[in-house]
Symmetry: C2
Subunit: 335 residues, 2 copies
DNA sequence: TTGAAAGCGCTAACAA
DNA sequence: TTGTTAGCGCTTTCAA
């Protein structure tokens, strides 16, 4: 399985190997005749340029690292898909790593990416705490954080406007006639979640309604956790709400599952609104209304931001906050 | 952002750079004292070995290509997750590419992977036709096909036993009392789909029931296509079945959507069985019964198979066919 | 046990 | 327009 190199091509074409390099790189300092001859030989010999060797001298691998918590998570695979599309058209390839939300694995992933000399990293952190832990790495390679709002951290990140999204959702529910809205899944240790809870609180205040919270006691958010939480919620006395605003779609799905078991009808008995608009939300029978993260846009802004950083070392950093939109489906109804 | 190299370390440690290399590679021809000193310096200087340079001389990048049709597809992201886990523990990283089921993009992906000198490729082809089209590439790099059964093609692949899976599903439905079972989504151009349809036919024959088919006229399988097909199915005259066996879960989801619109109740009016057991099948309100692909096992067998091939060029090829299992949920009921 | 030097496949500066 | 050569960061003989 010996690969054919530029030297093999040169030998066959009867030129020096730097001439072959020129032909391949589209240099103008070469005659049209030689170029064509060389290109023909390349074709014939099935020559594929060795990007690794090129990387050594160019100091660019055309590889971008993508560190996600879990590619299996629809939120992440949605982003990954768009990131791959965006970068491929610009000649970059993606090196993927899952962190499983484990800081140690995040560190490992960075280490690996650096070893592979990726030109930059798109990093979906497991929590804002990742920033401090990985600061040293981030100084060594252009990095943009994606998905998590890191507030005033001096690094580039792109995120949806979580505060505004929560306001939007609350206002929407209010518009449907709901006055008793429970915010489900407030969680510590995540700026994103903090902002969402704050947005909800702010909207409640403006609307003149009383905020109610049911907190997420788990360190992460998943359907399963949402389900267990929801069971607790529904089991407790004195509930008084007509709508639930779930902090994430996965939480909302957990609520649906609990409601289903308990015979609580959605939206007849309570309305349910999610946040993220993951693919699952649009599935038949689910039809989850949700505050939408503009995945494609998030991906493309993150990619642009990273490539900017790569081509211009001194560019500083930027925080790009995108607007969410409301996706109305069938889990929300007028009171 | 200049990276520290082995030479920088050597200078600080006061040794030659080949000594540093030895310390790092765990060579025994070095004194314990020097090794420790060097390792300490590496630590202190934040040295990360340049895998690219190492790859040049070792002729191994420790990179594996993963070509999927679409990482956004739960079937694929499921596999990708497990593949990443499996390979990471063995020191490999994943370069990801989406083909969008487009043969031209598959070719491009191979070209890119070869350029990056990946040590091997796990390839989830869009169709069996991919094999012929990409034969030349496959000769140049260890490759294993995943997900699609390529029958007697002289290349390694790992796949579930689609024939047996379809038999299993049919038998299960029969056991529930169903005698009129419609096979939904038979499609040309995919061995996988052919085998599933054949397995169904075989089971029908053994069971003494009459097979009924509703063909997929689209070139691909998706919820949307399944939905459109199902609308056609339900609109036609003379339907006579109590259960539908969908060729894939995505098709089944499409059927659910159509049934929902039309007020057809599942499983009260008809039972519905899927194939693949993608993550969506287990969602609340969906509860799709399905023939399960053992994703984790598929991934780990594919990884083993590929690493085998990489370490032993002459290993020939192998076809690994895994057993499916039946996952019973709530879309299937006794007649 | 350590150092010197060749070479992996390529690009780019310099010569011709 | 083309060829020669140095060198990217590393591993690995071969000498010392």
């Amino acid at each position: 399985m010996k690969n054919v190199t530029i030297k093999d091509v040169a030998k066959v074409a009867g030129v020096s190997y730097s001439t072959v390099s020129r032909a391949l790189s589209g240099s103008r300092e070469i005659s049209e005749a030689t170029r064509e001859k060389i290109l023909a030989v390349c074709q014939e010999m099935n020559y594929t340029a060795n990007t690794v060797a090129r990387a050594m001298v160019m100091k660019s691998t055309m590889l971008l690292g993508l560190i996600v918590t879990d590619i299996n998570n629809p939120f992440m695979s949605e982003l990954a898909y768009h990131i791959d599309r965006q970068t491929r058209t610009r000649g970059y390839n993606i090196v993927l790593a899952n962190s499983s939300k484990d800081p140690e694995q995040e560190r490992e992933a960075f280490e690996l990416m650096l070893g592979h000399q990726v030109d930059g990293i798109i990093f979906c952190p497991s929590s804002p705490a990742s920033y401090n832990m990985l600061k040293d790495y981030i100084d060594r390679v252009p990095t943009v954080f994606l998905g998590e709002n890191l507030r005033d951290i001096p690094q580039s990140y792109v995120s949806v406007d979580n505060f505004r999204g929560a306001e939007l959702g609350t206002e929407y529910l209010y518009g449907l006639g709901h006055r008793k809205i429970l915010y489900f899944g407030r969680r510590r240790g995540s700026t994103t979640h903090q902002l969402r809870a704050d947005g909800y609180a702010s909207a409640c205040k403006n609307l003149g309604i009383t905020p109610q919270y049911f907190n997420n006691t788990f360190p992460t958010t998943s359907i399963k956790n949402g389900y267990q939480l929801a069971k607790q919620l529904f089991a407790q006395e004195g509930n008084d709400f007509t709508a639930i605003f779930a902090s994430t779609d996965t939480n909302a799905l957990g609520i649906m599952q609990a409601a289903e078991e308990l015979g609580i009808r959605i939206p007849e008995d309570i309305s349910l609104l999610g946040f993220d608009n993951i693919r699952d939300a649009s599935l038949p029978r689910i039809h989850l209304s949700s505050v939408e993260q503009p995945f494609k846009m998030l991906a493309s802004v993150a990619v642009d931001c990273l490539l900017d950083k790569i081509s211009n070392d001194q560019a500083g950093y930027s925080h790009r906050i995108l607007y969410p939109a409301l996706k109305e489906r069938k889990t929300t109804a007028r009171v």
